[in-house]
Amino acid sequence: NAGVIQTPRHKVTGKGQEATLWCEPISGHSAVFWYRQTIVQGLEFLTYFRNQAPIDDSGMPKERFSAQMPNQSHSTLKIQSTQPQDSAVYLCASSLGQGSNSDYTFGSGTRLLVI
C-alpha cells in the first residue's frame, strides 16, 4: 500500500500561470479531501468528494480554484491565474468512509510556490 500519492512534490509557477495538482487516493477509499496549509492559516479545508461526487466545496476560493475527480483513482486541483498568495502546501487525503471511526490518510503534499 503506497498510501495517498500526490504529484508533483514541488511546483514553481509564474504569477498568472495555471497549476494542476494531482492526487491518487488509497484504493477502496470512498472519500477524497483537499486541504491547503500555510503558516498563518494552518490547515484549511478546501473541498471533498464522496464516491467521485463533489459534496462540499465551501472552502474553495470561488474564483480560479476548481477540483475534479474523473475516476476513483485520481483527483485534481486546478488553480488558474496563480497569485503569490496561492503559495502553500496542498494536501490530499482519503478515507474509507465518513463515519466517526474513519480517519484520514494524507499524502505528503505538493508545495506550490508562485513567483
Partner: protein, 110 residues
C-alpha cells in the same frame, strides 16, 4: 471559524519531559481525533477518543475528552526528539470534512 482550536500554538521542551496540549471546539461532538504532522509529511492519526471513554491511552500518549466543556487534551509522557511535530485535534462533525486549525507545534530538544 475553526471547529477545533488548539489553545497553545508552540511548545519547546527537553527530551524526557511530559507535555500536554489542549483543544477546544465550538460544536458538540462525541469523537475527537488527534493527528501528528512531521516535517515534510501529511498529518497522521495518532489517537481517537470517544465521549464514552473519557480517557484513552496509546503507548506514551494519553487523550481526554470532556463533552460538557467541549474540550480535549493530548499528553505525551517522556518525550523524545522524534515527537517533534505539529499536533492537530479534529472533532468529528457528522458527514462534514474534518477541520484541523493551526495546530500546536511541539519542539523536543535532545
Amino acid at each position: 471559524s475553526q471547529w477545533g482550536e488548539e489553545n497553545l500554538q508552540a511548545l519547546s521542551i527537553q527530551e524526557g519531559e511530559d507535555v500536554t496540549m489542549n483543544c477546544s471546539y465550538k460544536t458538540y461532538t462525541t469523537v475527537v481525533q488527534w493527528y501528528r504532522q512531521k516535517s515534510g509529511k501529511g498529518p497522521a492519526l495518532i489517537i481517537l477518543i470517544r465521549s464514552n471513554e473519557r480517557e484513552k491511552r496509546s503507548g506514551r500518549l494519553r487523550a481526554t475528552l470532556d463533552t460538557s466543556s467541549q474540550s480535549s487534551s493530548l499528553s505525551i509522557t517522556g518525550t523524545l526528539a522524534t515527537d517533534t511535530a505539529v499536533y492537530f485535534c479534529a472533532p468529528y462533525q457528522g458527514g462534514r470534512a474534518l477541520i484541523f486549525g493551526t495546530g500546536t507545534t511541539v519542539s523536543v530538544s535532545p
